[in-house]
């Protein structure tokens, strides 16, 4: 499935391929009120990465229900609505309003946007994450996924908090707080001081965090972070992911997903794996290659 924020509201992909191609659609974050977003310039390329500061520009809940959702429903695939808010009540309002509407299969709670003032209020604090999920949980019978931030010391702690609070799954990672500077002018190269880094540059970090989160929880982990190929998907599956989202790569290859699925089948077959289940979690620590501090002394 596409990663929220990189898929617009679906219609942007219509000139390329039928959005029904996706297993689920994850539109750009929706908040109760319309948000104008951050001042430009909003994005710049860094080595193998994309630094952005979009600021959750979105039409707001009412407009989403009126104009955007009917179009998304036309595609006939499950919609995972990405929700963002300033308060617990904001998240609840969006979920309550959309719950039960056709094809709205669930909600991905964005507690991890680094580009707005309140974006990380929930995501950095396991207690706040937990309270938010507990408040939203009774409001939906659909899938409840919490999108976690990498901007923490211990991702496992966040993952456990989400699981204990009743999340059906977690997705990670959102972008990593980062910056780009023009030293001559002494200014940021994007419209805000810092932004969020995505793309292949963050894949090794996402992989490590997927492993740590997968080890800490029983619920499915949806991996995000620089995935561009079937090889990458399998690496994330190997460290424990059950699902993946493709984000930044969709910008350069908006038609990549059907090919990626085909490549996935070929790679599994070539490696004598019957299914993804045979790869899932097959990564295991090798006692001989652990760093000193973790090696078990007989």
């Amino acid at each position: 499935m596409p990663a929220s924020g990189t898929f617009g509201y679906g219609e942007e992909f219509e000139p390329f391929l039928p959005p029904g191609t996706f297993s689920a659609i994850v539109p750009k974050s929706i908040s109760v009120e319309m948000r104008t977003g951050n001042p430009p310039p909003r994005a710049i390329e860094t080595p193998s990465g994309l630094l952005n500061s979009i600021g959750l520009q979105n039409p707001g809940l009412d407009q989403f229900v009126e104009s955007y959702l009917p179009r998304l429903q036309r595609y006939g695939v499950p919609i995972l609505v990405n929700v963002v808010g300033r308060t617990v009540e904001d998240y609840c309002k969006v979920v309550e309003t959309l719950e039960g509407l056709p094809l709205v299969a669930g909600f991905e709670l964005n507690v991890s946007c680094p580009n707005v003032k309140e974006g990380l209020l929930f995501g950095l604090d396991p207690l706040a994450t937990s309270q938010l999920i507990r408040a939203v949980r009774p409001l939906t019978r659909g899938v409840l996924m919490a999108k976690l931030t990498p901007n923490v010391t211990d991702i496992a702690e966040q993952a456990v908090a989400a699981e204990e609070a009743g999340a059906d799954s977690i997705s990670l990672i959102n972008t990593i707080r980062a910056m780009a500077v023009d030293w001559r002018s002494g200014k940021s190269r994007i419209g805000t001081e810092t932004g969020g880094l995505s793309g292949p540059a963050i894949r090794p970090i996402a992989l490590r965090m997927t492993m740590e989160a997968s080890r800490a929880v029983q619920i499915p982990v949806c991996a995000i972070g620089g995935i561009c190929s079937a090889e990458h998907v399998l690496e994330f599956i190997s460290v424990g992911a059950s699902l993946v989202q493709v984000g930044t790569h969709l910008y350069r290859e908006p038609t990549c997903l059907p090919q990626l699925l085909q490549d996935l089948r070929c790679l599994l077959a070539a490696g004598d794996f019957a299914s993804l289940d045979d790869v899932r979690g097959n990564f295991h620590p090798d006692q001989d290659r652990l760093p000193d501090r973790e090696r078990q002394v007989p």
């Binding site: 000139p15 390329e45 520009q57 540059a201 930044t248």
Partner: protein
């Protein structure tokens, strides 16, 4: 304004020729009938350079020309490129038979002003901005449009007036401005425009489309606003996707609606000056 639902292709195509034009400029001729046959002047393609993660994101290039003639029978897509960084350096090394990965056509075509019989459309270009203006002239010719138009081109010196012969060849009235006076008007293209405007008795009969470096675009906007001219400017912002999904290439709205951010890729890339903020 909604983008018409035009089929957009993402594929690799064969380079037929790479013509070096001097001063780091070159023209790529690409056999791409699926894009060339539907492309309109002002639209662009996103080029993926190499197959690695560096550069990561595609780069937008205005379509310079399609051939043999604009319209549904066009098969050849031409891009005018100036070498500025590693990406364009790699493109410069492409030769006949190589493949190039394109996405397009993207964005809205440039507008067609409705002018009376005495009306004149001024096409103002600087640097790489000449590319879509040439395609525009080619389209007018192919359609047999009665729209009177003149091209004003600016560069630092005559050697950098890339593309001027192309305009001459298709018989478009073209005026050059060079900073050093080595060709045409001695001064920049904005000063040339001011001189030109002074020669019109009724500015209501003058329309304009500009495409050039950032400084030129800013100055053009100021002149057009000051004199209440019906001008449009084609922008070239950094575009992570180019098709409206990322909201990364936005510009601010006009002074009274600064937070009405619009995406240059799908709502532009050409905007009427009255919709542009003072700084963009």
């Amino acid at each position: 304004m909604k983008m018409p639902m035009q089929q957009c292709l993402v594929d690799d195509f064969e380079v037929i020729d790479n013509v070096h034009l001097g001063e780091g400029w070159f023209r790529l001729d690409i056999e791409a009938p699926s894009i060339a046959s539907t492309a309109r002047a002002g639209q662009f393609v996103q080029v993926r350079i190499g197959s690695t993660d560096d550069p990561l994101i595609r780069r937008p290039f205005s379509i310079f020309d399609v051939g043999p003639e604009p319209g549904p029978d066009a098969t050849m897509l031409r891009l005018l490129v100036q070498r500025v960084g590693p990406g364009t350096t790699a493109m410069m090394q492409l030769s006949a038979g190589d493949r190039i990965h394109l996405m397009g056509p993207l964005g809205h075509p440039m507008p067609r002003p409705s002018l009376g019989e005495d009306g004149v459309l001024l096409l103002i270009g600087g640097g790489i901005g000449v590319a879509p203006l040439y395609f525009y002239c080619r389209e007018l010719a192919a359609e047999g449009s009665p729209l009177k138009h003149q091209v004003l081109l600016g560069a630092r010196s005559s050697a950098l007036l890339i593309g001027i012969e192309a305009f001459h060849k298709i018989g478009v009235e073209t005026h050059a401005a060079t900073d050093d006076g080595s060709c045409g008007f001695h001064g920049n293209v904005i000063e040339l425009l001011e001189e030109k405007l002074a020669s019109f008795s009724d500015l209501g009969q003058v329309s304009g489309i500009g495409c050039g470096p950032h400084g030129m675009n800013l100055a053009l906007r100021d002149i057009a606003i000051e004199r209440d001219l019906d001008f449009s400017i084609s922008l070239e912002n950094y575009m992570p996707c180019g098709f409206g999904a990322c909201f990364g290439c936005v510009i601010e709205g006009p002074a009274d609606q600064p937070l009405r951010y619009r995406r240059v890729c799908v709502e532009g890339p050409c905007f009427p000056v009255r919709e542009l903020p003072e700084k963009f």
